[in-house]
Symmetry: C2
Subunit: 107 residues, 2 copies
């Protein structure tokens, strides 16, 4: 494996906070059976912006995370704990999800 | 108590993520007995910027939180879990720390 590939794997092995935050918020929305527009409207953000947050493209401000969390019936504290556990689980299971992520990026 | 005071108390009762993130990172740095410049240098950020993060003035990007967390010998996941518990504790104990915060703001 070339050094560049190793570097890439290292980056993949450390998912960013915004990526797992977005995935968690999307999971919460799906569990409620809501469309992006439903949640975005209650949170006071645009559908497009919420979509970008869910895909981990944006680091939302604390105010936006608060608004979206409340719109999803939860709190910023509970969201942070859940996202932290997602990140911790990913860091501890390099043989499963992280490898899958690396393959997905390499494809 | 006047309505404005109630509104202020309401704001104080919902601390923002960046405020508790900053307080937690500052606690971690203090436990290591480091100066702002020490940690900032290893994280690759300016001392002034780390100071603003610690005071909850800035919502740092996921990359910056990652760099500061690593510089403090921890991980983004563990930081998020700790910050989430700080926020949850504050929300559950309005008679103690939140009142102290309200008094501090009113002073």
């Amino acid at each position: 494996m070339a050094p560049t590939s190793l570097a890439r794997l290292s980056i993949v092995a450390a998912p960013l906070y915004r990526e797992e935050l977005g995935a968690h918020l999307r999971d919460l929305r799906h569990r409620r059976g809501e469309r992006l527009a439903d949640t975005a409207s209650r949170a006071g953000v645009s559908t497009q912006y919420l979509s970008e947050i869910e895909r981990g493209r944006k680091d939302p401000s604390s105010e936006i995370v608060e608004a979206v969390s409340v719109a999803l019936g939860t709190t910023v504290g509970d969201v942070a704990i859940a996202v932290g556990h997602r990140l911790r689980d990913l860091a501890r299971a390099p043989g499963t999800s992280l490898r899958a992520r690396a393959f997905a990026l390499a494809a």
